[in-house]
């Protein structure tokens, strides 16, 4: 087949890129080769727009065993235990087919984690939908939630935390990010780097079908009116087969048979084989007629680009084929030697002994294009919105309005659809600042949380980037964990647009600054560009997934008030920043103000002091203060336990709204027993931390002296009805 301009366009390759391909090959590619280039040079695989900026992120630290570049990041949690984790997007497929898109998103990220030798122990997700009034939102929400649950529940890994947000910026492009966390032995970690010439390359797992051919290109193409035509690229997930694949791989990994292993994710067989060869500085030869196929008459092109799920590629030590095969057969999975490593540094594709394609490996990997895309600094508006100029409202009405909004409503409707307890190590389920998972059979545990803040990032990308890392850090601190490292999923619009590229570059600057200061390195991640439709891009939405360690696990720390008559302390200074806040957004529909400043010195100092207090067992409950300010934080603590509060009116600040709803950073609420108060204050003073004693817990009523009084039950009602009524 002659390669025409139309074919090139269809493959999403720019004409410079095509010229470059011809130069590398010193000839015209055939269709198969063109397809392979298009998959590998695609944004999704090559990170061509983002790589330059990603390189600046801090990725090292004492706790890091493996940073970005492998299937997932690996950190050290002491003894001989390692935690392996990563987050990934599945935005575009989920918009087209929410159930299967979300399900296969979970399946994909799980493979990234168990490929490295980890048994997955927790799943998280970050899901963003358009306005609840948009006609598609309800079915997308339903489909995505049941898809995430459908996969995780079936495979038997608890889904323990996440975030769910609504904003009309996602009307035409929802976000579905899934994160998986696994546990492995430090000396039993598996990598994708091939080693040795003439080793068997083995295909295991499901058969190859015509699923998602060009899915990777789809994930990097903007939606337009014709996106409905891209339908057939959506894959159907098979969690049952994945469970078998996972058990089979983990069983084989007990032995020393595997040289390297790689899941077939985006761009399937192509990217997995190229990556293994590239990392090992080798070539690879595949006999495509041996690939197990689901459909008749599949072509080499289809086999190489299929994105059928639940498949892996393994390079085996000599003589291990029989043993390995017996394991996969036990689990009723395909196991076929489809090729071998070579020292030609080429990807050689044969079909019935005829060579049907040959491409130098480095052309697909290290020589893939990298762009230094133009980017513009964000113009920050100086507009100040003062509460004085706004129409009069009441504190209680505002609180109720926030608590009953979709973004702040209780998420039980969602989390009850996820099995959170399977594996019996979930010490703390969804609903708190972070979930806690015990390491099986040990006394230690990890804490996990995901966070994002598109509004903050939109109005001030650097501060927004800084803030989400800090918020995530704070959420882990709040449950008594020492934050160790993060993974990040960067959801942005079209990188060819300098404004969008600017948002990307600046958000990363912010992320970098926080990560460096907090010694909270990035060990894995994923970039999703081209989120948006018809030139309307989504707000920048980097999502941070963090993992922390609880070394000596005694009892879970959370934000549920435990007792009446304990003292309530806020840690960190309240200035009353409202310009970008839940109050403004939910009550006044203003969402373009500047986000609160992030002071990293205070962040670290306050956090470490709180962690110290938790570790000293001086506190009953802890909650970070985030969206909605002090009042929403207190309400959340009350609603979990039906214990009320009696709060004193602030003295110095004139404006109560600023005090109670302000979103200044680095703050926490602590519930402290009377008799621990002295010791807590001592730690706070010694650490130079600003704190205020603002009141006490009491029976059943949520009260600010001489200002509001309402029963906690009523707050609970307001907070728990949106989803069921939607």
């Amino acid at each position: 087949m002659k390669i025409t301009q139309k074919i090139i366009d269809k493959h999403g390759l720019k004409s410079e890129e095509y010229t470059n391909i011809k130069k590398i090959l010193k000839r015209e590619p055939n269709l198969l080769e063109l397809g392979i280039f298009s998959a590998m040079w695609n944004e999704h695989c090559s990170y061509k727009s983002s790589r330059k900026h990603l390189k600046k992120l801090p990725t090292k630290g004492k706790q890091v065993i493996q940073g970005p570049g492998e299937n997932a990041g690996v950190i050290d949690i002491g003894d001989d235990d390692a935690i392996i984790f990563k987050i990934e997007s599945h935005n575009h497929p989920s918009y087209i087919e929410p159930y299967q898109g979300a399900a296969t998103g979970v399946g994909g990220i799980l493979r990234d984690v168990f490929t490295m030798g980890a048994r997955p122990i927790a799943l998280l997700n970050s899901i963003h939908f358009g306005s609840p009034n948009h006609f598609k939102t309800k079915s997308l929400l339903n489909g995505v939630v049941s898809g995430i649950g459908g996969y995780g529940n079936c495979i038997g890994i608890p889904t323990v935390a996440g975030e769910t947000k609504f904003n009309d910026t996602y009307n035409e492009n929802i976000l579905v990010n899934a994160m998986a966390v696994g546990h492995a032995k430090k000396n039993k970690i598996f990598y994708s780097k091939a080693k040795g010439n003439n080793k068997s390359v083995v295909y295991v797992g499901s058969k190859t079908g015509r699923d998602g051919i060009h899915g990777a290109s789809m994930a990097s193409a903007e939606f337009d009116e014709n996106s409905e035509d891209k339908k057939p690229t959506v894959q159907v997930g098979d969690p049952f087969t994945e469970k078998l694949l996972m058990e089979a791989c983990l069983e084989l990994m007990k032995d020393n048979s595997i040289i390297s292993i790689q899941d077939m994710g985006a761009a399937g067989l192509t990217s997995s084989s190229v990556e293994m060869a590239s990392k090992g500085d080798l070539g690879i030869e595949l006999n495509l007629e041996k690939v197990p196929c689901r459909e008749e008459n599949m072509t080499p092109y289809e086999m190489m680009l299929s994105e059928s799920q639940e498949r892996m590629l393994i390079i085996l030590e000599d003589g291990k084929e029989k043993y390995a095969k017996s394991i996969f057969e036990k689990w009723d999975l395909d196991f076929v030697v489809i090729g071998k490593t070579t020292n030609t540094n080429k990807l050689t594709l044969k079909f019935n002994s005829e060579t049907v394609g040959e491409i130098p490996i480095d052309a697909l990997a290290s020589k893939a294009p990298i762009y230094d895309r133009k980017w513009n600094k964000k113009k920050i508006s100086n507009k100040r919105i003062k509460i004085k100029n706004l129409k009069k409202i009441k504190i209680l009405d505002s609180l109720i309005k926030i608590l009953s909004s979709p973004n702040h409503s209780n998420k039980k409707w969602i989390t009850n659809q996820f099995d959170q307890m399977v594996m019996c190590d979930t010490v703390q389920k969804s609903g708190s600042d972070a979930a806690i998972i015990r390491i099986h059979g040990r006394e230690k545990a990890i804490a996990v949380a995901v966070d994002s803040s598109a509004n903050y990032c939109k109005s001030h990308p650097i501060t927004g980037g800084k803030q989400i890392v800090c918020e995530n850090w704070r959420n882990l601190i709040s449950v008594g964990a020492k934050p160790l490292a993060i993974t990040n999923c960067l959801n942005f619009g079209n990188p060819e647009n300098p404004e969008i590229m600017g948002e990307f570059a600046e958000c990363l600057m912010g992320i970098k600054e926080s990560c460096e200061y907090l010694d909270y390195p990035v060990v894995s991640g994923n970039v999703s560009f081209y989120n948006g439709t018809n030139k309307k891009n989504i707000s920048p939405t980097p999502v941070i997934g963090g993992v922390g360690l609880i070394r000596q696990f005694k009892k879970p720390m959370n934000h549920h008030f435990k007792k009446e008559n304990s003292i309530i302390i806020t840690v960190g200074k309240t200035f009353g920043h409202l310009e970008q806040s839940a109050l403004y957004e939910e009550v006044y529909s203003i969402s373009d103000g500047r986000p609160p400043e992030v002071n990293l010195i205070n962040e670290k100092n306050n956090g470490e002091a709180v962690l110290n207090i938790i570790n000293s067992e001086l506190v009953n409950s802890v909650h970070d203060i985030s969206s909605g300010g002090i009042l929403v934080a207190l309400a959340e603590m009350s609603m979990e336990s039906n214990i009320g509060v009696l709060i004193n009116k602030p003295k110095k600040l004139t404006n109560q709204f600023e005090y109670f709803f302000g979103e200044d950073q680095s703050r926490y609420v602590l519930e402290v027993d009377q008799n621990n108060l002295k010791n807590v204050e001592k730690i706070l003073k010694e650490s130079n931390v600003f704190y205020e004693n603002i009141g006490a817990t009491q029976k059943t009523f949520f009260e600010i002296k001489k200002e509001i009084k309402i029963s906690v039950k009523e707050l609970y009602k307001a907070n728990n009805q949106w989803y069921t009524n939607y």
């Binding site: 087209i96 499901s206 699923d211 057939p232 159907v236």
Partner: protein, 96 residues
């Protein structure tokens, strides 16, 4: 009921329950994990001649309507709006 005309009393008076069946099947190249497992199980149970099974959905729908064509259109609409996911499924409506 006020609109009954002399000419077609029967058509309207008869409580007009129309019944349709809808079968929904996965598109050809779409993976059918359920069908696959069912097929393996039956083969393991000794059903050798079995070549292929695909699983789908089935609905029986009762409508109160006078006009069969109209009604069929409505069922068609239901399929498009809710019952079938046209991205991965095909559907067929039949009067029963």
């Amino acid at each position: 009921m006020k609109l009954i005309s002399e000419k077609q009393p029967l058509l309207i008076l008869r409580k007009n329950k129309l019944k349709f069946s809808v079968t929904i099947t996965l598109k050809k190249d779409v993976l059918d994990p359920q069908g696959k497992v069912v097929q393996n199980t039956l083969q393991n149970l000794g059903m050798d001649n079995l070549k292929n099974i695909r699983q789908g959905k089935y609905f029986e729908i009762d409508l109160d309507d006078n006009d069969q064509n109209e009604a069929k259109k409505k069922v068609d609409d239901m399929c498009k709006k809710l019952l079938a996911n046209l991205i991965i499924e095909d559907y067929k409506v039949e009067k029963i």
